[in-house]
Symmetry: C2
Subunit: 201 residues, 2 copies
Amino acid sequence: MARRVTGPEIERLIQLLARLPGLGPRSARRAALQLVKKRDQLLAPLTDAMRTVHDRVRVCSACGNVDTADPCTVCTDPTRDGSVIVVVEDVADLWALERAGAVNARYHVLGGVLSPLSGIGPDDLDITGLVERASDPAVKEIILAVNATVDGQTTAHYVTDRLEGLGVKVTRLAHGVPVGGELDYLDEGTLTAAIRSRTPF
Amino acid sequence: MARRVTGPEIERLIQLLARLPGLGPRSARRAALQLVKKRDQLLAPLTDAMRTVHDRVRVCSACGNVDTADPCTVCTDPTRDGSVIVVVEDVADLWALERAGAVNARYHVLGGVLSPLSGIGPDDLDITGLVERASDPAVKEIILAVNATVDGQTTAHYVTDRLEGLGVKVTRLAHGVPVGGELDYLDEGTLTAAIRSRTPF
Ligand SMILES: [Zn+2]
Ligand SMILES: [Zn+2]
């Protein structure tokens, strides 16, 4: 700001809020003002919730999900099919698949994708943990639910190689037209895949 | 979520984050995950910053700005022209004018605009405080820097009426073409105002 109009405390709050995904500098300022205005209704409870999460939430040592319990709610849920492990890049993907109710299985969060350009190699992802879990004879199928990006597919190939010889079936998500998607907005690769994998009407 | 995949602590954090302006449910989830991942680099310092703001930031009893000091940094700044008060709807507007370095004056935050439809009347805004400040013989001009909306202009008219007889000059922001603005994207009212208020080249 041209001149100082407020104490450094709010400036610091704005700077930290701006580091949240989805908030730029402008919306971080609005968010900070909203917090000051709603001191009791929003600022106090949000501060509490953040402290609780800071103190109690951990990364699941088995699957990489985040939870207050370790192993996490998913890993200890006895109603899930323990013979299937869905491999995802990120916790957000695990949650997205769960919101969709897409599969009743366990998960494994890689924590990213292989990306030579960004210097992310196999040791930066939790692939060893996956191989270990996949070595359990009770595990029959690994579903690779990584993003359909170049890095995602490179990662899928690498993981498949690492799982070879364990006697576990490795599958991947189908390509096709998104539900509600309009054909003329889709790229050629998706359209070709959708034609190839066409199903009886 | 279809089934529970994590403890209620993170769900609560997501719900509260989603109440910040600029964050919807989807980006609130991403923000919560980012906070968990960057526990020490982001979650801890942000929690600290929020607690500090909660404990120390107040609304200035003179002008409505938010600051750790009351009266605020602006109100006690001796280099500002105390004869001019810029009236704004919101603290965000005060900060925007300061970032622009638009004027070296004091401010008065109304805390909103008159809005019969939303049930917001004069008593919901800090108009009495403004009249009191404008009654000081040292104050010579009130600049109404409210938004160029219907409610903003209604508020400007009402405030002008309330200031009548105090011997203070009341002005408002000029209408015109925004700097960098393209004419064919502007509404007719703006174009007409820009023509009427044209200046020598
Ligand atoms: Zn787990
Ligand atoms: Zn003040």
